[in-house]
Amino acid sequence: MLFAKAKKSIDLIDKFLNCVDQSLLLFKEGVKNYLYNNTENFNNNILALADAEIESDKLRREIEKTLYLQSLMPQIRGDIMRLLEEMDNIIDHSKKNLFQFDVEMPHIPANLIPDFIQLTQISVSAAESVIPAAKSYFSEPANVNEKIHRVYFYEKEVDLLADIIRRKIFREMPDLKLSEKFHLRYFTLHIENISDTAEKVADLLSIMAIKRIV
């Protein structure tokens, strides 16, 4: 009874975080399926990711409504809503990227496929590491910093790998047209975007945790 109101909000936040996790898995699978030409699976991933994005928006609004209507955590609810918005951006970027693969159909040379898969995996790992950090913020704020260092690590790795891929594209592939090179460069940037957003969330969490530690 004492925690009835709180429990509803806790469930909603947990659902939202699960939704972010699921979206990242779908993105990773989607990119792999595109690169290996599994068109049907790729299309299924796109549809599932679009549904996850709608669901996450719905959950975010529901959480916002609950926090404000029940005037829960008046001092930090602004921060929490910002955190959820930033995490929602991760899903938005994932969906947008997968749609870009579908619409623009970039030609990725066979020898670049393993690099792109690795780039996607590391970028997604950065975003995935944000989720336990966010969960930790709600129950053990002192441990947030321990968790977010993984985000920073993966983000740096993504930057390095993306740089290597771009060098390969522009210096070692004279057969590609300039337009194709540009196109591939943009796709490395799109994938990098996910880890960049994760880094933003990590920065925010770090400050929020400091504020919470009494």
């Binding site: 004492l2 429990k7 955590m73 001092q75 930090i76 709600f138 009494v214």
Partner: protein, 581 residues
């Protein structure tokens, strides 16, 4: 009525205390929206009254020991002076405490009446002023460390923790309110205890005169909480240190503990029973204990967060408040005694009189003339105050209404002005645009006309050349001349295209005119329509002739025929007709 008049000083002080000090208990909770103001006010009021009635006697006794004001006139003056000083200093945002004010007032009374001040008690009181905030700081530092450890180790979800904090804020707030009532009621009603006697009984339940006074004081504090503390609560948050709800729990609990310790007779007796010196039961300023408690948290978190100016102001308040109140009381007592003849010293002690529910009468030893005079003055004052309030309220409403209307008018005129400016600018821009376009078209037309004139001259030259060729007998010479002329003709072949371009541009510029012409006079030929168009542009027959590749005379004839075809009357000019069409 008269009784209420004398008690009004204390009630006013009570109201002021409620308005200011309730914010120390629920300020952060209400300011941060953790608890609604209504809930906070109800809890604060109930527990302040309970604390005042059941545990207010200890501190009152200490104040009586300092200086026993045993006439109601003296008590009234002391309470009123304290209330005035508190209100004025609060208004000008100076650090103030009812505790220090009332102590100053009692000392002022003692000096005026020649009664000796009990310096041992005064030392005890001043000691607690200093010791209270220090104890508050110690408590808060310890409690803060404990709470921080609990929060870190509990691993409770933020939202669950928040629910617990809300409940704790309420419980601790209730305890704080109880302690505030118990400790500070002496400031409000303590001075009246020795000069006022009243008892009230219903069956076996009896309320003593002291309890009745405390109940009244508690109600006055509650009224203060309900009527004025909201504003203070909503702004208290960032005054000394930006506080989280967790810190607020610690601060309020520390304050409640300090106030409880300095007002609990039972606790004091318990301490004595184990062989320790008794705890002094002294009214302590809740605001100063709160500041001490906040300082305690600040020490744990890092001193740089504390606004040291506010802490310094408190020390200043320990001196300024009692001195000011003492001086004011001294002179007011002189005024009350000399002007109204109301006794303020113990020679005029009021006889005690018990009252029952059936027979509630009071019998004060005040001359009848003074009594009537005072009632008259009181009524007059009340009427004046009411009238002033009414006038002020009306004026305020009127000025607010005027201000609103004025703002609206200003806004409206500003909008209108902006709109007109935009309109004017647009029209001006359009005009400039049109004028430049017209100018451009005219220039183009004139240039073209000049070109056509040149072309005509050139053609005449060609004709002359051919004429010469005909006249020349030598075949070689004839061929040369003809070839030369042919070359010139070829160079100027674009001439007819230019004329067509001119017509096209003119038609585009006068598209509406051309459409009307087509609808109203469908019988007109292309050549005639062109003639009308050129006339509308403002060209003379002489200028039109080269354009139509005819002589000026032919243009005149064409104009005449056109008039006939259009059935124009004699007095209507053809140019005028084209302009008005």
């Amino acid at each position: 009525m008269l009784l209420l008049f004398f008690l009004s000083g204390g009630l006013f002080l009570g109201w002021s205390l409620g308005a200011n000090d309730a914010a120390n208990i629920f300020g952060t909770a209400v300011g941060s929206e953790m608890i609604s103001f209504k809930k906070a006010a109800v809890i604060a009021s109930i527990f302040i009254i309970l604390g005042a009635v059941f545990q207010g006697s200890g501190t009152t006794q200490t104040l009586s020991e300092l200086g026993s004001i045993d006439t109601i006139g003296g008590a009234f003056t002391a309470a009123l002076c304290s209330a005035l000083v508190v209100t004025l200093m609060t208004k000008y945002k100076l650090p103030v405490s009812t505790t220090q004010a009332i102590v100053g007032a009692i000392i002022g009374w003692c000096y005026f009446t020649g009664t000796s001040v009990n310096y041992d008690v005064l030392k005890k009181i001043v000691g607690t002023w200093v010791f209270g905030p220090i104890l508050g700081a110690v408590f808060s530092a310890l409690l803060y460390l404990l709470l921080r450890k609990f929060i870190r180790n509990s691993r409770l979800h933020l939202l669950k923790m928040e629910s617990i904090i809300r409940i704790l804020l309420l419980v601790v707030g209730a305890f704080g309110a109880y302690s505030l009532g118990a400790n500070n009621i002496a400031n409000v009603m303590g001075v009246f205890v020795n000069s006022f006697s009243f008892s009230f009984s219903i069956g076996s339940f009896t309320i003593s005169s002291t309890q009745f006074l405390f109940l009244l004081g508690g109600i006055a504090i509650a009224v203060g909480v309900f009527t004025y503390s909201k504003k203070v609560m909503e702004t208290i948050g960032g005054n000394i240190l930006p506080m989280t709800p967790e810190a607020a729990i610690v601060v309020v609990l520390s304050q409640a503990l300090v106030l409880f310790i300095f007002s609990s007779t039972t606790l004091s007796q318990a301490v004595t029973s184990i062989g320790l010196p008794p705890i002094p039961l002294v009214p302590v300023s809740s605001t100063q204990v709160v500041v001490g408690a906040v300082l305690g948290i600040g020490l744990v978190k890092g001193i740089q967060e504390i606004k040291m100016k506010i802490v310094g102001n408190i020390a200043l308040g320990w001196v300024t408040t009692p001195v000011l109140t003492g001086i004011l009381t001294f002179f007011s007592l002189f005024f009350v005694q000399s002007v109204f003849g109301i006794p303020v010293s113990n020679q005029e002690t009021l006889p005690l009189q018990n009252l029952s529910t059936q027979n509630q009468t009071t019998n004060y030893h005040i001359p009848f003339e003074v009594n009537t005079f005072l009632v008259g003055i009181l009524l007059l004052l009340m009427m004046i105050v009411l009238y002033l309030f009414f006038i002020r309220y009306k004026n305020k409403q009127k000025s607010e209404e005027n201000e609103r209307r004025w703002t609206k008018q200003v806004q409206f005129s500003e909008f209108q002005e902006a709109l007109s400016k935009i309109e004017a600018n647009t029209i001006q821009l359009e005009n400039t645009n049109l004028v430049s376009k017209l100018e451009e078209s005219k220039n183009e037309l004139i240039t073209n006309l000049l070109n056509i004139g040149e072309q005509r001259e050139y053609l005449e030259g060609i004709c002359q050349g051919i004429q010469n060729a005909i006249e020349v007998q030598d075949v070689t010479e004839k061929d040369r001349i003809l070839k030369e002329e042919l070359l010139h003709i070829k160079q100027k072949m674009s001439f007819s295209n230019e004329v067509d371009k001119i017509y096209l541009k003119a038609e585009q510029a006068q598209v509406n005119f051309m459409e009307r012409l087509q609808v109203q006079y469908p019988q007109l030929s292309v050549q005639e329509r062109r003639l009308l168009l050129l006339l509308r542009i403002g060209l003379s027959s002489k200028e039109i002739a080269p354009l139509l590749n005819i002589s000026t005379k032919s243009v005149e004839i064409s104009r005449y025929r056109l008039r006939k075809k259009l059935n124009l009357e004699r007095d209507i000019n053809l140019v005028q007709f084209t302009q008005t069409m």
